[in-house]
Every structure is written in C-alpha cells, then in structure tokens.
Amino acid sequence: MTDHIHDVSAAVLELAESLRADQPRDETLARMADRVVTLLPGADAASVTLFDGGEPTTVAATEAGALSLDKVQYSLDDGPCIEAARTETVVRTDIDQARRRWPALADAAADAGVETMLSCPLFVRSDNAANLEAANHHRLSGALNVWSRRPGSFEPGHAALIALFTTAMSGVILTAARWRRAQIQAEQLVTALDTRDAIATAKGIVMARRGLTADEAFGWLTDLSQRTNRKIRDLAGVIVADPGLVEPKEPASRRPSPRRSANS
C-alpha cells in the first residue's frame, strides 16, 4: 500500500507540474483518468462526471464502455456515480449489489464485463462567491468513476489513493474555471473598449458634421438615443459606418477646414 501511495503521489505531482492553465480542462481530466486506471489496483476503466447546470455530463472517459455505463446512470438519475456526487461520499458497489439497487445499470455492467464499481465525489467550491455559504451553494460537483472487471476490487484502503486523485482533479477543475472566467472578462473588456472607440469616433463625426464641442456632441448622441430608443453603441456603429447620416448643421463652406495650425 505504501508503494501504491508513493506511486500515486508521484503521478499526481507529475501531472500537477505538467498542467498548463490554458490547457483544456477535459484534456487534463482525461490524462488523469488514464493515470487512475494505471495506478489504482484493479482499475480497468475510469470516467469523470461533472454536473453542468444540474445535468450530469461525462467530460472524460478512458473507454467507450465507461461512457455508456455513465449514460445509463444519467438516464436513471441514479447509480453509484450520481449517489457519490449527491451525498459527497465514496460509493463502492459490486454487480450483485447493483442488481438489487440499480438493475438496469447491473445489466449494462454485465454486458461490459464490469464486476466492481467505485465512484468518488468531486466538489469544487466556487471562489468568486460572496461568502462561505454562497460558495458552498454554488460549488461544482461531480464524481470520478472507476470500473473493474474483477470481483472484489477496490479495497477500503484504496480510498486514500483515490482521494489524492480527486483532490488533484478538483484543483484542475477550479483552475480551469478561473482561467475561463479570466478569459471571459478579457473578452468583455476588449468588447467594451471597441464599443468605447466606436462611440468616441461617432462623437468626433458629430462634432465635425454639426459643429459641436465634444460635450455637446455627446449630448446630441444621448438625445438621439433617447428619441429613437436605441442604444448609443448601436447608433455609434451606424454613424461610424456612414458618417453622412449625420445631417450637417451648416453649409460645408462654413465648417472647419482640416488645415493645420501654424505651429503644428
């Protein structure tokens, strides 16, 4: 057992060191699921379930058989994976227990040659919630599911091994969520800057066409927005695309010329 813990610790450390913030979350989880199968005694297949908007989804699976067993549980809205995620406890079951509790799952498991199932909860507290209570409420949940084709696999002592993996996976999920949030914020900032540029350009167009000061031009745009019930950013886009739409206040000959001043 000590050797196993050492191997798993080394594998988790190696995975943690190889993680890149911009690497797709599900790719990393798939690599970790592969490692689980390699390092957990008795494991033949593994999958990772995440609850996305309340609906369970398999985001990584080492083989198609694992995916189909997950899907049976999702359609039943029950099974070791669902129970592990909901109760936040490790759920170990064999084919006989499954036959009593989840006959449809037991049939699917028998078809896949699976004898033992182990599901461990994954939970990631939201780190942008206002307080601890909100963080608990908004956390992501899921499960790491491991399947064995041998009866009696997954001793209780293996819980420590699997806990190393689920802790690391929770870290991956949290990092990915933070990265995604940062990406969205960056995209929103770029959009906001573009919108701001368009409004400023439209303001310049109104200044030049209507002979207004910068403040007056912004007032003119605001009035137009209120009168037409259209957002300033939408009006700005239209004006920038066709400055001629802004009716000139005076004949062209009286508008300022582009001449540079003597000292420029």
């Binding site: 200044m207 030049a208 002979g211 300022p256 001449r259 001043s261």
Partner: protein, 86 residues
C-alpha cells in the same frame, strides 16, 4: 499607503491615461473621417503620422481643439474668434 497600494494607484492612473488617449484618438479619427470623407482606417493612419503614441495624442488633441474652438466661437457671438483665420 503601502507599496502595494501605491502600485495599484499608479497602475490605475496609467490605465486611465491610456483610456483617455485612446478616446481622444478615436474622436479625432471621426473628425478626420468627416473632413476628408475617407474611411476610418485611413483616418487612423493619418492620425498616426508621427508613429509615436505621444505624437498621435498631440495630433488628436489638436484636431479636437480645432472643432471645439470653432464650436465655442459660433456659440458665443461676441467672441468673433476664428481659429482658422491666421
């Protein structure tokens, strides 16, 4: 204020300054578009004649001031000041 606070304040000032420069440049682009009746992209290129941020900002402020002053002069009948009559 500690060093971290000072750093934050300086960063905020720099950000605000960049935003104001960018807004001025965008306004000037709009004015140039009207003056020359050419597309936004060409107006951007023309504004950047010096190829430096400082030069672009100075040119943008000059262009805005031309329109601002002309508008102010028209608003005040007693001023009789025309920045284009030199």
């Amino acid at each position: 204020m500690n060093d971290f606070g000072q750093w934050q304040e300086q960063a905020a000032h720099r950000l605000l300054s960049h935003l104001m420069q960018r807004t001025a440049a965008s306004e000037a682009v709009g004015i140039l578009q009207v003056w020359h009746a050419y597309p936004r992209e060409q107006a951007r290129d023309d504004l950047d004649v010096t190829g430096t941020p400082a030069g672009r900002e100075a040119e943008a402020r000059r262009i805005i001031a031309v329109v601002d002053n002309a508008a102010d002069a028209r608003a005040d009948r007693d001023a009789h000041w025309d920045p284009f009559e030199r």
